[in-house]
């Protein structure tokens, strides 16, 4: 065969390279998808074992408030009531989000509408730095400042939902603020000009126009903060007191899904009921993070239509 014909019919070096490159990148992305599927499969298979092989009633699991997986109750079914942890997790999440939202939105308005110079020069870098502070550091500060402070005011041990709320508030504040700032900056400046041209004051413009237009973005930021608060493990575990009891008030020791997981999973035997019950909590955590994800998408879609 003549060399020209051969060169025309054979795959070129370039085409081979292209094929190989494409396969490599496909492999990488496939790996990520496999990891996600793997996480769901493993956590779900462990977490569902409590209900299918150990025969725990799902409703009892969600609503009973006695958590002692080693002990059986009068009917011979194990006592795995996750209500205290669920209440604790939702309690700290919502409380910290409620406190953080006005501060975060206020700071974001300050940074974009009132004093952009100070905002960009001082607040922005500090907030960026704070987003990166490791959660154990927040936990340590909570343990050495917040807990003694609460103890001196309310008495008791100082550990509890209130301490967890404070720590999470400081933790999610930078996250929510920076996302609110992005949302406010994305509002086109002619919205502001139009409102000011109508004779509205700066505050009227901010309140009635800018904040309205930025609402979906701000909501996304808040949900993001809540997702972070809900999944936070160590900082909360260090200050909440770790008692799997239904909390009487905000300053009595409580626990969250994450705190029970971190302190418990190493002390139980794989495959035992105690262990499976913990995996059920992990599954609950996974489903909640999925829920937050769906909510963020939903808000994004709602915001788009306007």
């Amino acid at each position: 065969m003549d060399p020209i014909r051969e060169a025309m019919l054979k795959r070129s070096r370039s085409a081979k390279l292209e094929r190989r490159g494409r396969l490599i990148s496909l492999f990488c992305i496939g790996l990520i998808v496999v990891i996600v599927a793997g996480i769901f499969y493993f956590v779900a298979s462990k977490g569902l074992a409590t209900f299918f092989s150990d025969g725990v009633n799902l409703w009892d699991f969600l609503t009973h408030s006695v958590w002692s997986p080693g002990v059986k109750d009068a009917h011979g079914s194990p006592q795995v009531g996750a209500l205290p942890m669920i209440v604790g997790s939702f309690g700290v999440t919502f409380l910290s989000a409620i406190i953080a939202t006005p501060f975060a939105v206020g700071a974001a308005v300050f940074m974009t509408e009132i004093s952009p110079k100070v905002g960009r020069k001082i607040l922005q870098p500090v907030i960026e730095l704070l987003v990166g502070i490791p959660s154990v550091v927040y936990g340590f500060i909570g343990l050495s400042v917040v807990v003694p402070f609460i103890r001196s005011i309310f008495g008791g041990t100082g550990f509890g939902i209130l301490a967890g709320t404070f720590v999470l508030f400081v933790m999610i504040l930078p996250t929510v603020t920076s996302m609110a700032v992005d949302a406010l900056r994305a509002v086109p400046s002619h919205y502001r000009s139009a409102s000011l041209a109508l004779g509205a004051t700066r505050w009227q413009t901010t309140w009635r126009v800018v904040l309205r237009a930025a609402t979906p973005g701000i909501l996304t930021g808040i949900v993001f903060g809540m997702a972070r608060a809900f999944g936070e493990a160590l900082a909360v575990q260090m200050v909440i007191g770790n008692a799997a009891l239904l909390p009487n008030n905000l300053v009595s020791p409580a626990s969250t899904l994450t705190s029970v997981l971190t302190s418990g999973i190493g002390n139980t035997v794989m495959g035992s009921l105690e262990n499976n019950a913990l995996w059920s909590l992990a599954l609950l955590l996974l489903l909640m993070s999925l829920f937050f994800n769906i909510m963020i998408r939903w808000i994004g879609k709602k915001g788009e239509l306007k």
């Binding site: 990148s25 990166g132 500060i141 302190s263 955590l285």
Partner: protein, 294 residues
């Protein structure tokens, strides 16, 4: 109240809010640094931790943190670049791509403790790696991948399409265009994202307590044989990192100077994160100037 007064009032309130936040943040940073820095000394940074007595350091933990970070980056960066290239250059607009994007989003929003538990189940138990640096690095990879991938994709997407067309017009294949034209230009963005990701990984603890373990066996820093159990390079030894150490001594530690040690370790951790931030900014700008014509 007329609108003018309302405006004044609101402005005053917003100034107060901003002031309160600055005070909180400043006192936070000040607290860590003023509490911690007096404890930081050469001895503190290099000597091993002690379990029962005062005067322990964080030498081994510090080394473990950096070693684990290095391994995690070595594993996750190539995967993230490959995946980012796929998403930015090859992915078509269809349901498969949507599914891939959704799963990356889910992975990035997973609580790190769930990632840690997954690592415990799969790497530590299933693959029988035990509590080891390798398990920890793999868990950190899972934790780090989604953000890195998104960063690579965003950086690649910012490159103007004319650059790609120029490459293709020269007869390069798509892959060659990506490797020789697009990636060099996107490199500053990619590197900035990686350094920021490294800062995040450096402070991560929840994903590590059940993968890399909570103990730091003594190391012999003269032994560089990676197969020896006492060697710092061994990837099958358990390795407590700095962040895990802070958590550990605060929740179950019995050292009399636990507060001092954790204050010092926190200060070191914060300074490291600060350093990563500064380096990310500086390196990004510098590289951009060096690699492009601007």
């Amino acid at each position: 109240m007329n609108p003018k007064q309302a405006d004044k009032l609101a402005t005053g309130v917003l100034y107060t809010v901003a002031g309160i936040i600055i005070v909180i943040l400043a006192s936070l940073l000040g607290f860590i640094l003023f509490q911690g820095l007096p404890h930081v000394s050469w001895h503190f940074l290099t000597s091993p931790a002690s379990t029962f007595e005062a005067g322990g350091g964080i030498g081994i933990q510090l080394f473990n943190s950096f070693y684990l970070l290095l391994l995690a980056m070595v594993i996750s960066v190539p995967i993230a670049i490959g995946a980012g290239i796929y998403l930015a250059e090859y992915a078509k607009k269809n349901w498969i791509t949507d599914l891939i994007r959704t799963s990356i989003e889910i992975l990035s929003s997973l609580p790190s403790v769930v990632v840690g538990l997954f690592g415990f189940l799969v790497f530590v138990l299933q693959f029988k790696m035990g509590f080891s640096i390798l398990s920890g690095a793999l868990a950190l990879t899972v934790f780090n991948l989604p953000l890195l991938t998104r960063n690579v994709e965003d950086s690649l997407r910012q490159i103007h399409f004319t650059q790609r067309e120029a490459g293709l017009a020269l007869g390069l294949s798509r892959w060659e265009t990506v490797v020789h034209v697009v990636i060099p230009e996107a490199l500053p963005g990619i590197i900035t994202g990686m350094i920021l990701g490294a800062g995040r990984v450096f402070g991560e603890a929840a994903a590590l307590i059940y993968t890399a373990g909570q103990s730091a066996p003594a190391l012999d820093f003269t032994n560089w044989n990676p197969l020896n159990i006492a060697s710092p390079l061994n990837i099958f030894r358990p390795a407590e990192t700095l962040a895990v150490h802070i958590w550990k001594i605060n929740s179950e530690g019995i050292q009399p100077d636990a507060a001092a040690v954790s204050a010092g370790a926190s200060a070191v951790l914060i300074l490291a994160v600060l350093l990563f931030n500064l380096v990310a900014r500086y390196a990004g700008n510098r590289l951009y100037k060096k690699m492009t014509a601007s």
